[in-house]
Symmetry: C2
Subunit: 184 residues, 2 copies
């Protein structure tokens, strides 16, 4: 064996994560990944069932984290759910920045992926939580705004320290939702 048992797997995943985040899933060929890793295209298909399987393995952790957040929010009362949803969502997106960038690169394509089949409905519940379970269209619009604000801001990789970015995202989101704790 040319490398220590399947160290190549990790390198493939890492290279694919970067390339998918930059050029999108469709915009990245197996040849591109193989070139970066320094192996043959056939070697990729030895370690993974296909291009699709690479994407699946990349996005699964982020999806599972979303499932956890979804479950946590489900057990909360309407009065506290919005604040928890904001912090939970911000932390989630910050933690999976590169994965989010992949999603950002090509939303419909990625969301059609079977492993992400239940993401849209979880996103709907997240929006509902951000809106404090209100069905007022105004609140739903602002909740959608928060969803996009955090999403795009993190995908844009602003040149701001991580903790400061987190603080500002949370405060900005709460302001958007009109739930900011204003100094009296």
């Amino acid at each position: 064996m040319a490398r220590s048992a399947s160290a190549l797997r990790g390198q493939i995943l890492d290279a694919a994560l970067n390339l998918f985040a930059i050029h999108g899933y469709r915009g990245t060929s197996l040849h591109d990944i193989a070139t970066v890793v320094g192996c043959s295209k056939a070697s990729l298909l030895y370690h993974f069932a296909g291009k699709d399987a690479i994407l699946t393995e990349l996005l699964s952790p982020a999806r599972e984290a979303l499932v956890e957040l979804d479950a946590e929010l489900a057990g909360l009362g309407d009065d506290r759910v919005a604040e928890t949803a904001v912090t939970g969502y911000v932390d989630l997106v910050l933690r999976f920045r590169r994965e989010v960038k992949i999603l950002f690169q090509n939303v419909t394509e990625t969301l059609c992926h079977p492993v992400l089949a239940d993401v849209p409905e979880m996103a709907d519940r997240l929006v509902a939580a951000l809106a404090g379970r209100s069905t007022d269209p105004k609140h739903l619009v602002t909740a959608h705004m928060v969803l996009g604000a955090v999403f795009v801001t993190c995908a844009g990789d602003p040149d701001v320290p991580a903790d400061a970015l987190r603080e500002e995202l949370i405060h900005g989101a709460l302001r958007t939702l009109d739930r900011a704790h204003r100094p009296s």
Copy 2:
């Protein structure tokens, strides 16, 4: 001639606009467009120099509108620029919803397009305007948030009347920027 002088051109542009918005530029083949329009792939390439030319013609109006907004904001003082940037940006995105969706479907791909070469720098100036020309990282982050909030919310096609959506986007954005006119 099978159709009234180049009525086909319009149908091609309309079909391409829809398909690009749904499946992205790369995710839409000339064959797909031709099938929707009801003509041959070769006919598309008779009316347009190439797939690229179709995208160019689709995105040019939106780009020109952005250029106008950019020029308008350039002539404004630091104190009033943020409010004008918000309303101008919201109106722009609402007017070119489907074009924005194309951009949303594949950001880097579309932004690499030569006709959109100056869009990134205009976007930077728009962010600066939204931040009220402040260089404080906190303000820049919130400005980015507004950029994404309006972008994603409109691309998501929420089930809200257009004027109500506009109002809520503007108010939400101003709250995010902490520039809301609060009732005393």
